[in-house]
């Protein structure tokens, strides 16, 4: 079911709210941008008239009008954009790389926003991907962030894998003292994977930010609108829920008894790959601080 067309009166009302006259933006161009944005959100499934109106009312219309006018090459709009947004773009680039390494990203983004003529001589601006669903400022920063991450990722593909990664990708060594160890490790990892998949998206995002992206609690909390202490409590709650889910999974799906379940958890704590770096360093420090082993020295001197 396609979305109903946006009626002219509504377009005119939205155009006034967007102050499209300030940039001498043709109403038809603005209407096309609204349609394109709605198509992008609702796709081929379409939307009811109510959903469509709510969507349109939630748009950042002034930013959309400015973007449309810039894409058309309106000089006043472009000047306004340069004055308002270019410094922010540069500041954002400098924040990404204080040595100035991201400035070229900002420059190339700026050039893409200005647009280049295509084969038919029509100017194609990056602004065509902006539909007013966010503020222009946030969108620009998001585009810049994406390009920055893409560049880092491309650079990383060219780098050799660090030792740590090579180590973790090695097959698990068989342990002669406990032949069941690899199996237990596989079972608990699978059970944890299933348990994580059953969490709701907010809990998964919290885990991803904290463990995957290695954000601090304060940072993770800020992203999710939680206080640092709340983020900590929520992580603790999630870990507890995961542990119980893993235990249940190991018992019911894998048919392990209590001792085997306990062994599954033990193999994790025994495995060096799961050692926390902080624990390792602390152990090293303890070893350094410990009194020297005189028995060895005696043996050497004897």
């Amino acid at each position: 079911m396609p979305s109903p067309p946006i009626d002219d009166a509504l377009v005119t009302r939205l155009y006034k709210r967007a102050d499209g006259d300030a940039w001498r933006l043709p109403l038809s161009v603005f209407a096309d941008a609204l349609e394109a944005g709605a198509d992008r959100v609702f796709g081929s499934e379409g939307a009811s008239a109510g959903d469509l109106e709510r969507h349109l009312a939630s748009l950042h219309l002034e930013d959309l009008a400015l973007a449309c006018a810039c894409a058309l090459g309106d000089e006043a709009a472009w000047e306004h954009f340069v004055r308002e947004h270019r410094p922010k773009l540069y500041r954002a680039a400098d924040a990404l790389d204080p040595s100035g390494g991201a400035r070229d990203l900002a420059d190339s983004l700026y050039a893409d926003l200005y647009g280049f003529p295509d084969q038919q001589g029509k100017r194609k601006s990056l602004f065509r991907y902006f539909h007013g669903r966010s503020s222009l400022s946030t969108w620009l920063r998001a585009v810049l962030a994406q390009r920055h991450v893409d560049r880092l990722r491309t650079a990383r593909r060219l780098e050799p894998l660090p030792d740590e990664e090579a180590l973790s990708s090695q097959p698990e060594a068989a342990d002669a003292s406990d032949p069941d160890r690899p199996r237990f490790l596989t079972l608990i990892k699978r059970a944890l994977g299933l348990a994580v998949a059953r969490l709701d998206s907010r809990d998964r995002l919290r885990l991803g930010c904290y463990y995957g992206q290695e954000w601090t609690l304060a940072q993770t909390g800020r992203l999710l609108g939680e206080h640092e202490a709340t983020a900590s409590r929520n992580l603790a709650r999630t870990r507890k829920a995961l542990r119980m889910d893993v235990e249940r999974e190991l018992r019911t799906a894998d048919g392990l008894d209590d001792a085997q379940v306990a062994r599954c958890f033990e193999v994790v704590t025994e495995d060096a790959r799961f050692m926390d770096l902080a624990d390792v360093l602390a152990a090293d420090e303890r070893a350094r601080d410990a009194p020297p082993d005189r028995s060895i020295r005696k043996r050497k001197t004897s």
Partner: protein, 335 residues
């Protein structure tokens, strides 16, 4: 150590390992486009698109890395620190406050119609604020890992791949301290069962009633709820220019575009249709129908941290540095 806590430790180790591994092996797929990501950050998504974006973000390490990079760009709207505040320390604040108090008494006692220059009234305002500033500001900054981080909602730290690049540039001791603090609070979370009452979060939402002011001297990640005299009509603000509107006492919220991407720090509503909101870099917004926001011209790009309003024409705003500005013509002119 109890059996549960040992097992929790195992779960934590597995989580670290599995999330780090997935960060390495994840293939870029159908990631969120920049606008959807920006709309998610702005809080502009709702319903199905919001669910879909949240589900994707929960599992996509690439998008999480972009979020981390985005967070690092979060300082564009910070107004430069006023020249006279640089180097201002407690040893100056005390005599300044005392002097200002004396001036205030001298000004207030004779007659109300004595004309005072504007600078004097600014000094009088500072009498009320130095203590708040001197105690609150460092505390708030201590929580921030990077001094330039202004967007309170998002972290300033980069994703692992970004971290490597940034490691040489960022101050290690700060990071270490923060990690230690994290570990400590994590340990606390392990030791005690999670209480149902979410006490710290209650401080995140401040409420303003009617024409009174909300927002603090220190801008933060605070989500501010502004309640109109008709208690069912409310607004709430968030970072990056987000304002939402509710007609059912906060049961449901509707995003209202403001056209600004700046953190909004305070608001006041003198009637069910009128609401004023102020924010960083001299942002003043006014709605007279509840939903449509008009950005008013403000003479300075200072962070505005409080506002009082009596109607759609008369309001007084307080800047971060304690200065106070009033308008009686709906924001056309400010004194």
């Amino acid at each position: 150590m109890s059996r549960e806590s040992l097992r929790d430790q195992s779960v934590e180790r597995l989580l670290k390992e599995s999330f780090r591994t997935s960060a390495r092996t994840s293939q870029p797929g159908s990631c969120l486009d920049a606008e959807t990501l920006a709309a998610w950050i702005d809080g502009s998504l709702a319903g199905g698109p919001l669910t879909a974006a949240s589900e994707h973000l929960a599992d996509c390490v690439d998008c999480q890395a972009t979020l981390a990079a985005f967070a690092r760009t979060a300082s564009p709207e910070v107004a430069p620190e006023a020249w006279w505040r640089r180097g201002l320390s407690a040893r100056w604040l005390v005599p300044m406050a005392a002097t200002a108090t004396v001036i205030a008494i001298w000004v207030a006692v004779p007659r109300e119609d004595t004309r005072q220059p504007e600078q004097t009234s600014a000094a009088v305002e500072q009498v009320a604020t130095p203590q708040t500033k001197s105690t609150g500001e460092p505390a708030a900054r201590a929580d921030r890992p990077s001094p330039g981080g202004a967007d309170e909602r998002l972290p300033e730290q980069p994703a692992p791949e970004l971290r490597r690049e940034a490691a040489a540039k960022e101050a290690a001791p700060v990071h270490e301290n923060e990690e230690r603090r994290d570990n400590a609070s994590l340990a606390a979370g392990n030791a005690a069962p999670a209480p149902q009452a979410d006490a710290p979060d209650s401080t995140l939402t401040e409420r303003a009633r009617f024409g009174t002011t909300v927002g603090g001297v220190i801008p933060g990640p605070t989500r501010i709820e502004i309640v109109s005299p008709d208690a069912s009509i409310r607004w709430r603000t968030g970072p990056s220019g987000v304002v939402e509107y509710s007609e059912d006492a906060g049961a449901t919220w509707e995003a209202t575009p403001t056209g600004v991407g700046t953190d909004l720090l305070a608001g006041a509503s003198p009637s069910g249709t009128v609401c004023w909101v102020v924010g960083r870099a001299g942002i003043v917004l006014l709605t007279t129908d509840g939903r449509r926001w008009q950005r008013l011209t403000f003479p300075l790009a200072v962070d505005l941290t409080a506002i009082q309003a009596t109607d759609a024409r008369t309001a007084a705003v307080t800047a971060m540095d304690g200065r106070r500005f009033t308008t009686v013509d709906g924001g056309t002119t400010w004194k």
